[in-house]
Symmetry: C2
Subunit: 469 residues, 2 copies
């Protein structure tokens, strides 16, 4: 009798998006799923499911007891050549929720278990089909709503992050093996590892890890949306601008039949970048009030934003615009944040007035944009400017970007561990103390790719997945 | 050079339900789709898509120009061994709306056209993979929300309706061939067809066709939901009952992760039957007001319902309950409609009172049900009673049920044509006049299975399909 490891028990799930459609996909994975599905999936001519070659798609009928439920296509995958690394059965059925539900119920009655979120990918990880960072890339890929986030997730899925972490970890392991060797010869007080070389390696790797961790700000923004705060006095047209930007995009998306229907209200993809537009309603009118805004929420939104659109009207005095610009500027980190003056309602300006305003504002660090949110004038220029700002900060193709908070934290920990290693070496600490910090650093890097893992880490990661993946 | 017929041009669509999920399915069909997809679907080792055997699922990368978009599974089908009867490419990708959209856009850029609703099934029909009634069964199958509607659609998809219509049509064609033969020998005044036999056949078939058409009431109810009106005076707990029935079912459905999320507010499946619960709020309190309801809407709802629940309270006087029961009864067709007295709020009744009420109502044609909608008491008995009423009218396995309005109309027309044929034979009309009606009857039956069709009929049928099917 063989004992089935806990992570091999047969599971099933609907893997296509929930709801009604032309076709739905139900997947089963685990020890013995082909045998379990034998009673429900009937091939023409009474052929046994067992005799169906792997990776072969066949027409079949799906039965629930005596009753025929649907005409389906069935594909088998045999371990380890499958997504999970286990035996798998894939069924594409007609996409009615009723059929999907009945197929799942039939499988559950036959002894399969409804898969937990991400359980297929978790098994792929446990069976060595991908490492943990790649598995997390799968979830990011499915969630990615724009080209930038998509590219990031795909490169993570394909192992770019893992390879970079792996390189660093390999250097540390070599380093550690020398130190451990010294410990084995502890009594003899030998030094296999040149302390100068080790120090230079450790400090170099601290810089590398800190650099990787620093990309998280960029990666997080690419993944979750670039925060753009629309600031300005009341009635400058902030909501009109927001709605125009959102609605226009929605219309473009719905041109393709059958795609996105769920839209998060305040994010919008422009030229592949996901922007998270944030309304800040706190700026009161008047000359000297900005510094007194006093509303923590508006402050925070502006400080958290990557780009701040300062919305004014063409009737606003140039000195007032300059004043607001300077006052907001003082809150910002010029390295990380961009303040963009936008003059609205320009469709109502008499000829020549905009040119005068432009001249009066020529001294601003950013030239103002002249738009009409209501008449949708010059919005393309605004979008281009947003894209231009982001493009300036766009990483090169070869650069590794961290977009996962868990990776960021592990990198921070590993960098701190290595910092202690460097300090230890500088202060001539004994090898066993240096080795302890070094092991910690290796441990933290191993958490990223999953060489080191716990059930808790896995649980936290996979419960954010969707069902069926 | 070959010319491509208009219905063979390459089309593509997302066939899985819209939105985000683990996996999505994109399908392409038509002349040359494999060649068109060659530039986007890259197999490992540089293998050409053309060399991939049919019905074989392979891992591949999907590219949009220079950019890799996703890791996908690809399956080819070669004409005529595919759903549409054409060359087909099926791609399962990660289920983000962004990826789905980009794959579709890549295909459209390569010259494929976004498929119209039902266009894959329309092609299956045009290429002789299924007849028209079967094609309509596909749409019904996807829309079927309960076991009864599901069974009906599946039997239609599998050709049960078509075979029955085909048998009748065959008899008529034999009949017609004899008459037409007489017309060829028109001058000689011969009668190849025995008029008595023809008359008996025609009248027999009129009965058959009328019988089939009569099943439409049943079939329509199975397909679109059994209308159940909840009638009764205000504050008898109609809304509580409705909500309890709906919510309970919703909870059951959502036990299975990843299934139905869209729920039509007022339909609910109980034991495989789809019920369409209808609130009628018009019955005023008081002894003699029911006949004066005067609200057309409530009248109509009650008349259209298949089952009417007359809700009262245990405190309502027995004579009042009897009076309401009789007054509603008079509106109904006892052959087709069921009036069920339901006494609500029974959890608050003192011991013995319900027994007394039961005795007092013993003379009603239907024994009353005693429930508490609020405490969810005895609702199982109510559901069983609903199921029992429907089961009484449940057709046998061998019986053909018409559930399609178009089929119903065609059958009505064909029956009327045949009725005229019978009358013509009885009145000794000349063969050419009889033949004309006979041809009409054959024509109408041919419309059901699609031997006779027009672009308009096809357009009407397939535009109700979902995209991707």
């Amino acid at each position: 009798m063989t004992t089935i490891p806990a992570h091999n028990d047969p599971i099933c799930a609907i893997s296509s998006p929930p709801g009604s459609g032309a076709i739905a996909l139900v997947r089963a994975s685990g020890e013995g799923v082909i045998a379990l599905c034998e009673g429900m999936v009937h091939l023409p001519g009474g052929q046994s499911l067992h005799d169906l070659p792997a990776n072969n798609t066949r027409h079949a009928t799906f039965r629930r007891g005596d009753e025929m439920l649907d005409e389906v296509m069935v594909t088998l995958y045999r371990a380890p050549r499958s997504y999970t690394g286990e035996e798998m059965v894939e069924i594409t059925c007609h996409g009615s929720p009723y059929i999907q539900q009945q197929i799942l119920l039939t499988m559950i009655d036959a002894g399969l278990r409804a898969a937990r979120p991400g359980e297929f990918t978790q098994r792929a990880f446990l069976h060595g089909k991908m490492d943990l960072a790649q598995a997390e890339g799968v979830a990011d890929l499915i969630a990615a709503a724009g080209a930038a986030a998509h590219r990031l997730a795909l490169s993570q899925l394909r192992g770019k992050v893992s390879r970079r972490i792996g390189e660093v970890r390999k250097q540390l392991l070599h380093f550690a093996s020398l130190i451990e060797l010294e410990l084995d010869f502890g009594e003899e007080d030998v030094e296999f590892a040149d302390r100068g070389e080790l120090l230079s390696l450790a400090t170099g790797l601290v810089t590398t890890l800190q650099g990787l961790a620093a990309t998280f700000r960029e990666g997080n923004v690419m993944k979750n949306g670039i925060p753009v705060a629309i600031a300005g006095a009341p009635n400058t047209g902030k909501s009109t601008l927001l709605n125009t930007l959102l609605q226009e995009e929605k219309a473009i998306v719905s041109e393709i039949p059958g795609t996105t229907r769920d839209f998060i209200e305040d994010t919008v993809t422009v030229d592949g970048y996901l922007y998270r537009f944030i309304d800040t309603a706190g700026l009161r009118e008047g000359g000297d009030t900005i510094e007194k805004i006093g509303i923590d929420r508006s402050y925070r939104k502006i400080r958290e934003a990557r780009i701040i659109l300062l919305l004014t009207e063409w009737t606003t005095a140039p000195e007032e615009i300059r004043k607001q610009y300077e006052e907001i500027s003082r809150m910002l980190d010029p390295e990380q944040q961009h303040l963009l003056p936008v003059v609205n309602k320009c469709d109502t300006a008499p000829p020549g007035d905009l040119e005068k305003l432009q001249e009066a504002l020529a001294a601003l660090p950013e030239p103002p944009l002249f738009i009409s949110a209501l008449k949708e004038e010059n919005l393309e220029a605004l979008k281009e400017r947003l894209g231009h700002i982001m493009h300036l900060r766009q990483p090169g193709d070869q650069e590794v970007i961290i977009s996962n908070m868990r990776h960021y934290e592990a990198l921070q920990h590993a960098a701190a561990d290595l910092q202690r290693v460097a300090e230890g070496l500088q202060n001539g600490l004994p090898a066993d103390l240096v080795a302890m910090d070094l092991r910690q650093a290796i441990h933290h890097l191993g958490e990223i790719t999953g060489e080191i893992t716990t059930d808790e880490i896995l649980g936290n990661i996979f419960r954010t997945f969707c069902i069926g993946k």
